[in-house]
């Protein structure tokens, strides 16, 4: 029996925003187009905590163009229970974000299928069995939007210099302080269970 598509955006604050048309993002430009790839490889190989600020190796125009992609909103996914327990953001007060247009594309590409979205987010099967939410920041520049240095608490071994995740999505970092935590909205995403 065909399953009813159950991808819904809900929440009193969020319906209008979630269904707004988002601008089409320009093609992703890799940092390797602007900087010697050998330099990027050396930065990636540096130990966590010792990497330089991106402004020291990326051209200002590249950084400006990258951050402009977040002006229509920055988003992040999370399990609702995780956020309720520990809040948004890493232990160092930072949080990685992606342009909302790309987050919406990920959700749409999953067509409401939980297992597809799990794969799209780099997670294992059943990792999203809890209620998934999208954290939406309308004005990320007010939260110190910047390119990640790779020294953030959330930068794992797959981190790449230049603002792209290994799957090719754009990323940036914002600061999530108690005061700034009021500047985002939470959009619940209802996904259908993975097909057995």
């Amino acid at each position: 029996m065909p399953r009813l598509l159950a991808l819904l955006f809900a929440g009193a604050l969020s319906c209008a925003h979630a269904q707004d048309a988002l601008p089409i993002a320009p093609p992703v430009v890799a940092a390797s187009a602007a900087v010697d790839p050998a330099i990027l490889a050396r930065i990636q190989a540096m130990p966590h905590g010792t990497r330089p600020d991106p402004s020291t190796y990326l051209p200002p125009a590249f950084i400006a163009a990258h951050l402009a992609q977040f002006d229509a909103g920055a988003c992040r996914f999370a399990i609702d229970a995780t956020v309720r327990k520990y809040g948004v953001g890493q232990k160092d007060g930072t949080s990685f974000v992606m342009p909302c247009s790309e987050a919406e594309q990920l959700v749409q590409a999953s067509a409401g299928d939980r297992s597809k979205l799990e794969r799209g987010l780099g997670l294992s099967a059943h990792a999203l069995d809890g209620e998934l939410i999208m954290i939406k920041i309308a004005h990320p520049r007010t939260m110190h939007l910047r390119l990640p240095s790779g020294n953030e608490a959330g930068a794992n071994s797959a981190w790449l210099p230049g603002g792209l995740v290994p799957s090719g999505s754009r990323e940036a970092v914002v600061d999530i302080t108690a005061e700034l935590a009021r500047k985002f909205e939470v959009v619940p995403l209802l996904l259908r269970q993975a097909t057995p």
């Binding site: 992040r76 996914f77 999370a78 399990i79 229970a81 995780t82 956020v83 327990k85 520990y86 948004v88 890493q90 232990k91 949080s95 990685f96 992606m98 990920l106 799990e118 794969r119 987010l121 780099g122 997670l123 294992s124 099967a125 059943h126 990792a127 999203l128 069995d129 809890g130 608490a153 959330g154 930068a155 794992n156 797959a158 981190w159 995740v165 290994p166 799957s167 999505s169 990323e171």
Partner: protein, 86 residues
Amino acid sequence: MHFEDRWVDRARRFALGVETVSGRCYLSIPVSNALVDYDEYYAIDQQDFDRFRRGEGVDAFLAACRARQNDAQLLLQPGTDRGEPS
């Protein structure tokens, strides 16, 4: 799987609970990759559940989880982009 938290220590950033389908106890920690915040779940027995709730030995267990030394106890195997403890 259905994870039901029974006790949360926000300061130490972990939770104790029960996976209700199997009845197994777990300790969970928050992790994050570049796109998503979620929890990792480590199977523990009832004795450890009670001991960790009293704060006995939990710091060493948490440190081992965060150093990925307790991966054999993960209830869900990591995906392609495993989150860092957050």
